[in-house]
Structures are given as C-alpha cells and as structure tokens.
Subunit: 279 residues, 2 copies
Amino acid sequence: METISENRCFGGTQGVYSHASDSTGTDMTFGLFMPAEAEDGPVPVLWFLSGLTCTHENAMTKAGAQMWAAEQGIALVFPDTSPRGAGVPNDEAYDLGQGAGFYVNATQDPWAEHFQMWDYVTEELPRALFDRFALDEARQGITGHSMGGHGALTIAMSFPERFASVSAFAPICNPMESDWGRKQFTAYLGENTALWEAHDATVLMREKGFPGPVLIDTGTADQFGDLLKTEALAEALAARRQHATLRLQPGYDHSYFFISTFMEDHVAFHAEALYGVTE
Amino acid sequence: METISENRCFGGTQGVYSHASDSTGTDMTFGLFMPAEAEDGPVPVLWFLSGLTCTHENAMTKAGAQMWAAEQGIALVFPDTSPRGAGVPNDEAYDLGQGAGFYVNATQDPWAEHFQMWDYVTEELPRALFDRFALDEARQGITGHSMGGHGALTIAMSFPERFASVSAFAPICNPMESDWGRKQFTAYLGENTALWEAHDATVLMREKGFPGPVLIDTGTADQFGDLLKTEALAEALAARRQHATLRLQPGYDHSYFFISTFMEDHVAFHAEALYGVTE
C-alpha cells in the first residue's frame, strides 16, 4: 500500500492511499480520515460512498465531514467509485463506466474484467483497512450520496451484521425503475432483471429491511429528484415499519452544499449507533 | 362561555371551558393552555386534535405538552372529538359516533344534525377563541394523534394560509383505504367516495401538499399500524417533494407514552415555524 498524502486535519490525519486490487485488477485509491483517538486504539469507522463522476477525493474535500468525525472520534473512509486507467473500459456517458461503478460486480463484457466494485468495497478494501489501521471492525456505519447512497443502502441491507447504522444523502432509491439504474444494470449485470434485485434498495427494504436505524435526507429541489424514486423507498420504509427517518429538506438540491449542510446530523446519527448512546 | 376550571400550570393557566355550539347544536367543551407570555399580549397557538374515544381531556392530561409550550410561549387548544349528550346519536362501536367525529361535516342521517366537527373546529371554535383570549390568529400550527392526526393534516392542507406548520403523531394517513375511514366516511358522508377525498391526507398530499413544513412520528410497533396506511402518505410526501420529516420510531406503539416522548420535538418544530426561527 502506497501513501499518496497525509495531512493533519481537525487533530487527526486525512490520508490518501493507493493499493493494488485483486478485485478490479487495477490500482485503487481511497481517502481515510483518522481522528486523534486512533492513536490510543481502534476507533469506529464510517464509510462514505460517493456518487456518479466522483473519485475518492470529492467528498473528502467538499462534504465537511472531518470536523464532525473528529468531534465524535470516528474514522471516515472514502473509496473511489470505479476502477480507472488506460486499460479500463469506459463510456462517453458520464453515468456508465469509469466514475459510475454502481457498487456491483459486472458479469457482462466489456465490464466484467475490472468492474467488481461490490467485492472491492465489501471485501477487499475492508480487509486492507482493518489489517493496517487502528479501526474497530465491530463498529461500522455506512453512508453515501446519490449512487453512493444506493451503494450504502444496498450494502448495509446485505451485511446487516456488519453495520450498526446506515444513512444516505439523496440516494438512488429504486434503480430498477429509474434511468439511473436500468441502463447500468443492463450493461453490468445483463437483461435478467431478477439479478438486479439484490442491488435495489427499495426491493431490499420490502424484502428484508435493516436491523439498525436508517436516516435519509433528500432535497425538495433536487434537480435529479425524478431519477431518485424517493417515493418508492418512502413507501417501503413505512410499510415495513423500519426504524427510519426520512427528511425532505426544503430548497436543497443534489450538490455537496446540500451534503455538507446535513453532515453534522449524519455523523451524530452514526455516532449514536456506534457508541450505543441512547437518549 | 362557561369556565369549567382553571389551573396554574408551568407558569401559565390550563383552562377548561364550555360553550353552546351552533355547528353541533350542543354544548362543546375544550381545553386551553395559556402561557405566561399571554399576559403581555397575543401568543401563537398550537391546536391538538385528539383520537378515537378521546374527549378534550386526554391529551391535556397525558401528552405532556404544557411544559414545552410554556418554554416556547405558545398556547395549546384541545377540542373535543365529537358532540356528546343524551340527544346525540351514538353507535355501540368505539369508532363511530360520540368520540369519533372524524373531523367531517356529516351529511347522512342520523349523524347530520349534530356531527359537524369540520365546521366546529375550523370555523366556530377559532372565532370563539380569537374573540375571547390573547391568541395571535396570524400564528397558528396544528397537530394531532391518530384520528386527530388525520384531522390536523386534512385541515392544514385545506387552510394552508392559516397554519404555518402541521405535525401528527401516528396519523390515519389514507382513511379511504382503511377500515379506520371507509366505515366512518360511509356513515357520515355517504357512499359517493368522491366526497371523501377532501378528508384523506394522502389524496390531499398528492393533489396539493402544504406550503409549510410537515413532521410525522409513527411507532414501528404501533398496534394499529396496518390501519394507519403510513406507507401511502410516505409515498405521497416523497413524490411531491413536500418539505417534510417522517420518523418511524422504533418500538413505540399508539399510546400517549409514545406521544409524550416526542412532544418536545413537535412543539419545538411548530415554534420554529411560528416564530420564523431559521437555523
């Protein structure tokens, strides 16, 4: 594992690291914020999965999460959103290929060789992190934005024993019924829609839900609101009686200005679950 | 208007009053909490509409609202849920007739003569209150529980210029599709379901929404959860991009223990809207 950079940040360290990935067959880069408390022993960790077009860097520099993570003594992980590089296939559209891995293992050509982001984020990167850093594997939360909110919700519901809490900012909620989903699932997973269901947060909420708390914020002025299908997940959350808070935030759009406004709440939400704090 | 009782309470006064109602053709009783600030001039007012079987008294004694209303300098109004008395028709079921007015104007016999709760709560009682008490008509919020949550939501969306904010505890969300609704609407309004739509929060949310903020709390262990149809309103809120927070509170049921737990949040929510406070 190569250290790209390490910067002091809110009393802790914001690092960027690169490692060779067996899952993707490429080098993968990620950001990791370690709070000061990590000098004394393993700290809880909050995963942040990013959205379309993002690298590991966008949320790390624009979400304003480190202040709150430092306050709570929690680490933050910022994975990349896809494999990248000259030998990796791409598409001229912003929402397919590099920067648009959708947190699935592709089975279709030309994507299958490298686009194994499900395995990378759920298996390989966790192993690499817990082997090398003072992170407490028993205390993990997960969040994300847009495509990364989709990733956070689907991964949390697939590994309920791993995550104490899940949240999302403007998540893609029902990709099987959205142009942010059908196109990518067809390309990566093929046309058998039964294989898509494991990657649809609304379907998973209907079928199994999540044992911990769920927090979702979405702006009422989200310019991609029709693609997110928030209403489908809202219906599923309520029908299941899922422990959940869904907030439709007036006037907010899909940007990092929206994310940073509500980041304090999300970090506090996860901290409460990770430290077992109850009011 | 007759004073039934007045008790000092959190520095203000909890009163109970009775007056002859033209709407219902009966005497009607209501509770009114006035905070200390009312001695200096008109204060904002929060309406609390109660649920099935309740009188004006249940929430007044069990919801724990006065502490928070006193802190915020807000008055609380607790209307009764139906006309009552020897000459008023009733039904042996708990969910029809006395204690079950459903906040509509009945058009069908034998209910039409007295069961005019829509007019009573939206016209006659407000006029009586604003004529007699130091209440600021320009600053009103509305909340309620169960059938009263249905009332709060439907009244707020019908009088959007009147209410700055609306919230509800475990509201009946979609009575047209629930056994808590179809039976009563048939009895009170007749079988033309087109006339029911003005009294269904989900239909109103789909068709017009609310210009202010909406807060809804419902317990995941609500024993009447299937009757509330929270999922229908959740879908409608999200589809409309309504400024709203829907919280599914883990382990809470339909009782006043649930209501009192979250009353502080609801009063603070309305206070923020009524005083124009923004973060």
